[in-house]
């Protein structure tokens, strides 16, 4: 059967192939077969989508020949001046450059393109990620804020800025950016959970126990919202269990504890279900990240020991 169909169904099962090395490897192994098949000349939306995915995977796995061919065909079809193709070309150049000098020249080329067309978003994003990759985080943050000042409705950029601020330890700014994402996408449950995580981390790192309890309660609200929007969101349940556990530990007897305890219990039950079904390889439960499931199992075990003591 057609390799096109095979690749499409693979991509529908693994919507983000760049997350795991193994999925990238699988995709890039299919690339030569696809590129030499007759179906690769079809001019449909799906084919070009596959070309882009194959290009990314091949670049990642180091199959530069296939990547070059993918890029060649994409630029033949859409023209070298298309913003997206320009960004992909830049990506290819970044990946295949061997010396810092070459990277600098790629960066210079980005700046030249941006001088001509200051609103070229894909190239601007490439420039920012290259700056980051070169270790110039401050410049990257500056460039990203200026990008967001002229196009403030791009959730991807807000999410990225948030993660940059987070790496710098600027938790408040990080949460602010995530809240901007929520203004654009009010259903983004993973962003809710992320706000909970950042709030929790900043409260744990900070001082002042009264503030800490408040921040924990705030984090619980965000985690609870995230699992309300997605009933099997592992990170949401994990955060909910972790933070409610800390609260229970912090003040053993209080009138408000009933609610926290029941939330904790609920999160434990859900996590247990996820862990058990994932371990038994049940159909429809295999999508979770293995490391995350292990961490959840660990958290449950630790909690049980504490209670039994």
């Amino acid at each position: 059967m057609a390799i096109l169909k095979l690749l499409l169904s693979y991509l529908s099962i693994h919507p983000s192939p760049l997350r795991n090395p193994s999925t990238s490897l699988h995709l890039s192994q299919q690339a030569p077969a696809f590129l030499s098949s007759s179906e690769s000349t079809k001019d449909t939306q799906e084919t070009w989508l596959i070309y882009e995915q194959l290009l990314l995977s091949c670049l990642r796995t180091g199959d530069d020949n296939s990547a070059r061919l993918c890029l060649q065909r994409l630029s033949d079809r859409f023209g070298v001046d298309s913003a997206r193709v320009k960004a992909l070309t830049g990506l290819y150049d970044e990946a295949t450059s061997n010396s810092p000098g070459e990277l600098e020249s790629v960066l210079q080329r980005y700046q030249d393109i941006l001088k001509e067309d200051p609103t070229n978003m894909p190239i601007e994003k490439r420039r920012i990620s290259l700056l980051l990759s070169l270790g110039r985080t401050e410049d990257a943050i500056k460039a990203l804020t200026s990008l967001l000042s002229h196009s403030p409705n791009d959730p991807e950029s807000w999410a990225h800025l948030s993660s940059l601020y987070f790496t710098q330890g600027l938790y408040q700014q990080s949460v602010f950016c995530l809240e901007e994402v929520l203004l654009i996408l009010p259903n983004a449950y993973n962003i809710f959970a992320r706000i909970g995580e950042v709030t929790y981390i900043s409260a744990s790192a900070g001082v002042g126990s009264a503030n800490q309890t408040e921040a924990f309660e705030e984090a619980i609200k965000y985690f609870a919202r995230s699992v309300e929007l997605s009933e099997w969101y592992l990170r949401g349940w994990y955060g909910l269990k972790l933070v409610t556990g800390k609260l229970i530990q912090a003040k053993p007897s209080d009138g408000k504890l009933g609610k926290t305890e029941s939330l904790n219990q609920m999160a434990t039950e859900k996590l247990l279900q996820i862990v058990n079904k994932f371990r038994r390889n049940e159909k429809g439960w295999t999508g979770f990240d293995e490391a995350e499931v292990l961490a959840a199992k660990d958290l449950i075990d630790r909690d049980e020991q504490k209670f039994s003591r």
């Binding site: 994003k125 991807e156 993973n190 592992l234 999508g287």
Partner: protein
């Protein structure tokens, strides 16, 4: 198969009822309402046609509730509707990804580590 039969049968009924209505208006131009049997035939054919189309749907239906749907995506694919906000392909740091992959493949070759594809 059943849906195709249902669709063709109900389409025939619909065409027939249209034809009857047309003939009726030609034969009796003074009356304003249709006879009851033609009206019933039209309604029944349309209802059957709707059923046929719904039955013939090949794609899997998505859950109506948002939380159930995103939960399903999370546990089946590990990536919901907003996974792109965490992956951020536009800001892909390809050099780091390449280095990570090179390291991973080396580890996989040394000890056949657990590969999940």
């Amino acid at each position: 198969m059943a849906s195709k039969a249902l669709i063709s049968f109900s389409s025939l009924l619909l065409i027939h009822s249209c034809y009857s209505a047309h003939e009726h208006s030609l034969l009796m131009p003074t009356t304003t309402s249709l006879p009851l049997d033609v009206a019933i035939e039209t309604i029944v054919s349309v209802v059957l046609l709707c059923f046929g189309i719904v039955l013939g749907n090949r794609e899997e239906l998505k859950p109506i509730s948002w939380s159930v749907w995103s939960g399903l995506l999370e546990r089946e694919k590990g990536c919901g509707q907003f996974g792109y906000l965490e992956e951020r392909v536009g800001f892909l740091d390809i050099r780091a990804k390449r280095a990570e992959f090179a390291k991973w493949i080396k580890g996989a070759e040394v000890g056949s580590s657990s590969q999940r594809t």
